[in-house]
């Protein structure tokens, strides 16, 4: 059966980028439909009526929503190559925990860094760096969060790298100065084609908000 894979996305969405990286890692051909988030398409509203958000993966007409759920779905369906999650149950639990940590802690803090001012922003910056430092401790000596190979947690986190210029400019700080290990890890990930071809230029993301 011919596989039909469509991705509803927005180029600057850190969540959409996760799905693109996963699709690229697996070498899956797909049709990309760019959404205007101020004027959402009928297709998006039909495929994700609950949240009305991107990304949505439509596989043979059936929608899958929520980026980390989509990435796991991709890993489970296209399971003949490039595994994104480990096979060992404990390592899998570990990967799921840390990917969820990125969603719970990094996303929230990063939003507040560029959207708030004054005391609120200072608190956001503190939370943001705390979450990065926790991740650095978890990374340790490993090249990737997945160990020797790029995996689920790397995918969950690396997409935020495209927004680092935004955070640094609005927050008036240098991530490299505060957390050099994260930058080193990010640059390592950027050497992968799937990541380099997916992540937009940091300045381009910044211009979007300007």
């Amino acid at each position: 059966m011919a596989e039909e894979v469509v991705l509803l996305d927005f180029w600057a969405s850190v969540f959409g980028m996760r799905v693109r990286i996963a699709l690229a890692e697996k070498g899956i051909k797909y049709e990309s439909k760019e959404e205007d988030l101020r004027n959402k398409s009928d297709l998006l509203l039909k495929m994700n009526p609950v949240h009305k958000k991107v990304p949505v993966l439509i596989h043979n007409g059936k929608p899958v929503c929520e980026s980390l759920i989509i990435v796991q779905y991709i890993d489970e369906v296209w399971n003949d190559s490039s595994p994104l999650l480990p096979s060992d149950p404990y390592q899998r639990a570990h990967a799921r925990f840390w990917a969820d940590f990125v969603d719970q802690k990094v996303y929230d803090a990063s939003r507040r860094v560029w959207r708030t001012k004054g005391e609120e922003q200072e608190a956001a910056k503190k939370d943001f760096f705390e979450s990065l430092k926790t991740l650095v401790r978890e990374l340790g000596d490993k090249p990737y969060f997945g160990g020797e190979t790029f995996g689920f947690v790397d995918i969950a986190l690396i997409t935020f790298y495209s927004w680092f210029y935004v955070y640094e400019t609005y927050g008036k700080f240098s991530i490299e100065a505060e957390c050099p290990e994260i930058i080193a890890w990010a640059k390592r990930c950027m050497q992968k084609e799937s990541v380099a071809n997916t992540l937009p230029d940091q300045k381009k993301v910044y211009d979007l908000l300007w």
């Binding site: 759920i69 796991q72 149950p89 899998r92 639990a93 799921r96 925990f97 969820d100």
Partner: protein
């Protein structure tokens, strides 16, 4: 496997802890339940979950696993001789995971807000929102169950556990606030499912009684009111 090989750090009122217990029960895994004292955190908890310092924590052969839905999936991945908790089809798995996330991110926080609502207007608005959420979950139940007893089909599955664990607090919220959330007229499928879920062998022993939860809620609210200002 020796009982002490599997430990669960938890507390009886926690719906998140219940998820882990139900999963272990479904797999007939013997485990040691270590009840955390309300208001304080044990050394073992702080060591096993340094990131969040929260229950539940599953400790399997001295290795900790945290976050209730991660724990449930781990239990499913490890004890493969027992009945499957997640569906076998990847698309169905994605659907179960989607609704479990919805319950955690939208449904439960809204329901929990009812007790703390400031004024009748605010309470009414939250009750309405919960009603909308239940309507969505009724639809999901129709689609997932395909006419069978549970979201998981003939047996309790991932989404049954993820959503069903909140039934105790749902009933307590209804009683304490004089509101009707699960309504036979509006969500008949879910009403029947709720009874079946609570009566299931894996759930019965760990679902706290509504009265007990109401007592606990009173203690909780008194403590919060009596707490010194930050």
């Amino acid at each position: 496997m020796a009982k002490s090989e599997v430990k669960l750090l938890g507390a009886w009122p926690s719906p998140y802890v219940m998820r882990a217990q139900i999963a272990l029960n479904l797999k007939a895994v013997e485990y040691e339940f270590l009840e955390e004292t309300f208001g304080s955190k044990s050394q073992l908890l702080l060591q096993s979950n340094p990131v969040y310092k929260k229950i539940p924590v599953l400790i399997h052969a001295d290795k900790p696993i945290c976050e209730s839905l991660v724990i449930v999936q781990y239990i499913d991945d490890v004890w493969t001789s027992g009945p499957s908790i997640l569906p076998s089809d990847p698309y169905d798995r994605a659907i179960h995971r989607f609704w479990a996330a919805y319950v955690d991110e939208k449904f439960f926080p809204t329901m929990r807000g009812i007790a703390a609502a400031q004024g009748e207007e605010a309470r009414k608005a939250l009750v309405e929102q919960v009603g909308e959420g239940l309507a969505l979950l009724e639809e999901a139940f129709d689609k997932c169950s395909k006419g069978k007893a549970f979201f998981g089909g003939d047996r309790i599955g991932f989404l049954d556990i993820a959503f069903g664990c909140f039934l105790g607090w749902l009933r307590a919220t209804e009683k304490m606030n004089g509101v009707k959330l699960l309504d036979e007229a509006k969500t008949p499928g879910l009403v029947k499912w709720a009874d079946r879920f609570c009566a299931d062998g894996a759930v019965k022993g760990v679902m706290p009684e509504t009265e007990k939860l109401m007592e606990f809620a009173k203690v909780l609210m008194a403590k919060m009111r009596g707490a010194p200002p930050k």
